[in-house]
Symmetry: C2
Subunit: 504 residues, 2 copies
């Protein structure tokens, strides 16, 4: 083995172990830890996070990575590890330890103030913190533009965007979103003026939570979730996390008065989970042992949730089981009604509760706002006004309060700028992959006959198997034979909703 | 602050954080982690354990501890930290990193082989590993005898014993156990030939596990377990663990056909938990942030389980709640019958299922066996024979199989020699403390009126408040005004069982 890589290995091992421990601490915090544990546990998390940071930023690793970047005797995986770590290092190495600590503290305060501001519906409480977070992100991004490979010029927001999705800066996203907007907005108009109305009342009858749990557990297993390598829990906001490929954890949230919220959370998170479970053993617990990118991860959860999970074919062999679980509540509902209800389009204010069609419009609002904040030093105090105007323009609705408007998402309080677009890209990646998959096998027939394993297997062979050892764009090209092409998603939406709402 | 201590602080922080992470990983492994996670997670645990080891054994800390051992400007807590760490270091510093790694691997294999041997009831599978473990312990103990403060002579088993309970070597324990044996064995004989028979059949009716859970949760809270600072779960073998004083976790195991197994596990573990919850904030997450010793910890769990939890007074205000939970199963059982049943003496083979009176006899068997193994190089192959003879001598029963005999406990496979006696010492510490407490307040009356909080508070003020900042012996003396005195325990047993079995 390359001797420099051997030296690096010690840091990689430590990084993997600390990463797994921090993942578990976070999972536990969301699902089980007692209320008053927070302060003491946060102290431990802070110390371990600093240790994790020092696995990369120290006296030895930057030099090793530089040398290894030139090495020619690395395996493919080793080269990928060096590439990923070098990128990560470039992102943080100019941020001093002091700045890093101050930033962590700022994020911690800003997170708490966001919660308070949301609870009290008072944007002014959050605004000064958001201003500081934006300023810090701009400063960090400027470091990168001034770094080894830069000349100090370039777009500050592109730095944020590339952090989450390599190769997708403003140029690519402006084009992508323009195309989406051109399709969705008129389509939405036609749907809203159509005569077709869907009955969704039955979804809000009383559904026993214990029975929901049983059904959702069964459903996750049906989709391929392997309970010998995973755990299913509950938390306020559903999420997926993993210690490694043999310990993958999802959560769902159940509501007694909402049957499908839990179901589609389970399907969505199972999509993420299958990705992580299928990462090969030789990649797990390495820096390339997770999904390739946020967008690629979302492509897996959204394909399962929307393209597959909201299709008639999927429910053909499954709906009976659901009826069996809730015989009283669903005795007067048939498959057709059910499928229509889970695809009902209602433009609304809250992203996480949005339907499939209008989802990307929510993202576009955030994208436009982020561009202004990071690129143009747009005043934070004006943000609620901008937000409401954009919602009116894109979705035709205006929030009554900031709580249901600009304060709804946690991301900005945590410094996550540039993340939202990956949700939309995920949809488009998914459509492109799904299109290819359908050319290679009879997907509707597989779904109808309950053979979903073959579909997951296709994803495993074409996406999951690479972990993050290749960039998302390359995986997409290897899987579909094409560069990223948003037309598949546009086409998918048009076809689906034209048919569903009988718009012809 | 002392400058050397300031330097030490960095290592202490890291040690605390790694310790908390490892605790959570272990808890999770016992309660939730998926079956196939083990290998990958064990790799991470191994790496983190090595990091933890290096917080103490490195180029800086041994020197700092040496200097700090002489320093006169330390606070009481700082001095206690230095004392505890110096003792820990002395234990491991002569073991080379290579030996340490080999020992960990040996323990891991020996643990697996013990499980297999127990499952297959085949001691020969385990014997070669046990031999190696004994040899390693003897070697490590010899290092300590040869260390800075030693001349190479002394008892190898005393080293093991002092590791778990400072100041309690063979001399002290031989005296203690002789006194106990002198009391218990004849007492047991009188009980066995008495006419008094207790009806325990009702405990094995069918008790719904969900209802047991509800009752046990209520019971833990009644005893003072604060669910805002703790978690209650389930595992194969009940245990208590904690990340710090505000995150204390207990488990219980429920059996549908055994009502009291879960109940007394809950009471026992709650005793441990209250100790950890009551450790002051300034001690938690330091090396003196836990209980003072194994024996002192057991004193808290055993006082709550046996002296309090099996008393008539305790059940007076509680039995009604239990009857309310299981009206059908307990309709023909009254308080008197219930209290008698939970105190029924039946000499049997399995330590963890033993009654209060014969419990220490199980410990004495292990103590005699350990003495021979560690001190006298007694051949491991002879161990089953020795075990069975000792059981016959002490308890009057002989195991049919090694599974129910020498293979029943996990401790030796994990290298824990010298641990068992602390279970017995815990009983004696408890009796001495309980005696003092009763002089200061009307304990039976407090129990009858459900005011158990005042009892726990006494323990908090006299035991819990010190954490491990003082040795157990010193805490005992501060609390009771006396040195350790086993007579209280002997007296307690005599009185209790004479009355219960009407032996006068």
């Amino acid at each position: 083995m390359n001797q420099d890589y051997e030296k690096l290995q010690m840091y990689l091992d430590k990084q993997a172990a600390l990463g797994a421990a921090l993942t578990l601490l976070e999972w536990d915090n969301e699902t089980l830890a007692p209320e008053k544990a927070m302060d003491n546990t946060a102290r431990c998390v802070g110390i371990l996070s600093e240790e994790l940071y020092r696995c990369l930023v120290n006296e030895e690793v930057p030099g090793l990575l530089k040398k290894l970047g030139q090495a020619e005797d690395l395996t493919e995986i080793q080269a990928a590890v060096v590439r990923v770590l070098s990128k990560e290092l470039a992102k943080i190495e100019r941020i001093s330890a002091k700045e890093q600590r101050e930033f962590s503290e700022l994020l911690s305060k800003s997170g708490m103030m966001w919660q308070k501001a949301k609870a009290e519906d008072d944007f002014a409480l959050f605004a000064p913190y958001l201003e500081q977070v934006v300023a810090a992100i701009r400063k960090h991004n400027r470091y990168q533009l001034e770094g080894d490979n830069g000349d100090g010029t370039g777009s500050l927001y592109d730095v944020s965007l590339n952090e989450y999705e390599e190769g997708f800066g403003r140029k690519e996203l402006d084009t992508f979103f323009a195309e989406l907007k051109e399709t969705i907005v008129p389509l939405l108009g036609r749907i809203q003026s159509s005569q077709k109305k869907m009955d969704t009342d039955f979804m809000h009858r009383k559904y026993d939570v214990e029975k929901q749990k049983q059904f959702n557990r069964w459903l996750a297993e049906y989709l391929g979730f392997d309970f010998s390598k995973g755990v299913m829990g509950e938390s306020e906001h559903p999420f997926t996390t993993n210690l490694h490929n043999r310990d993958v954890r999802i959560t769902t949230h159940y509501y007694e008065d909402n049957l499908i919220s839990g179901i589609f959370s389970t399907i969505h998170e199972t999509g993420h989970a299958l990705y992580e479970m299928n990462v090969p053993d030789e990649l797990t617990l390495t820096p390339v042992g997770g999904g390739a990118s946020c967008g690629m991860h979302e492509s897996q959860s959204r394909m399962l949730e929307n393209m597959i999970g909201r299709s008639r074919e999927f429910w053909e062999p499954v709906f009976g089981k659901l009826q069996e679980t809730f015989p009283e509540q669903l005795c007067d509902v048939d498959l057709e009604q059910f499928v229509q209800a889970v695809n009902c389009v209602v433009p609304d204010l809250i992203r996480t509760e949005s339907d499939e069609l209008t989802y990307c419009l929510h993202i576009m609002v955030r994208y436009e706002a982020e561009k202004k904040l990071i690129e143009e030093e747009y005043p934070v105090s004006e943000l609620p006004k901008l937000w409401n105007e954009l919602y009116q323009e894109y979705l035709g609705v205006t929030p009554d309060s900031d709580k249901d408007g600009v304060l709804q998402d946690v991301h900005w309080s945590g410094g996550m700028f540039g993340y939202f677009p990956s949700y939309a890209l995920g949809n488009a990646f998914a459509a492109q992959l799904y299109n290819k998959m359908k050319q290679e096998m009879d997907v509707p027939q597989l779904l109808r006959s309950g053979q979903i394993g073959q579909i997951i297997n296709w994803l495993k062979e074409h996406v999951h198997c690479y972990g993050a050892a290749k960039p998302a764009g390359e995986i997409l090209k290897l899987a579909t034979g094409e560069e990223f092409c948003p037309a598949y998603y546009v086409q998918y939406l048009k076809e689906k909703y034209t048919k569903l709402y009988e718009l012809n």
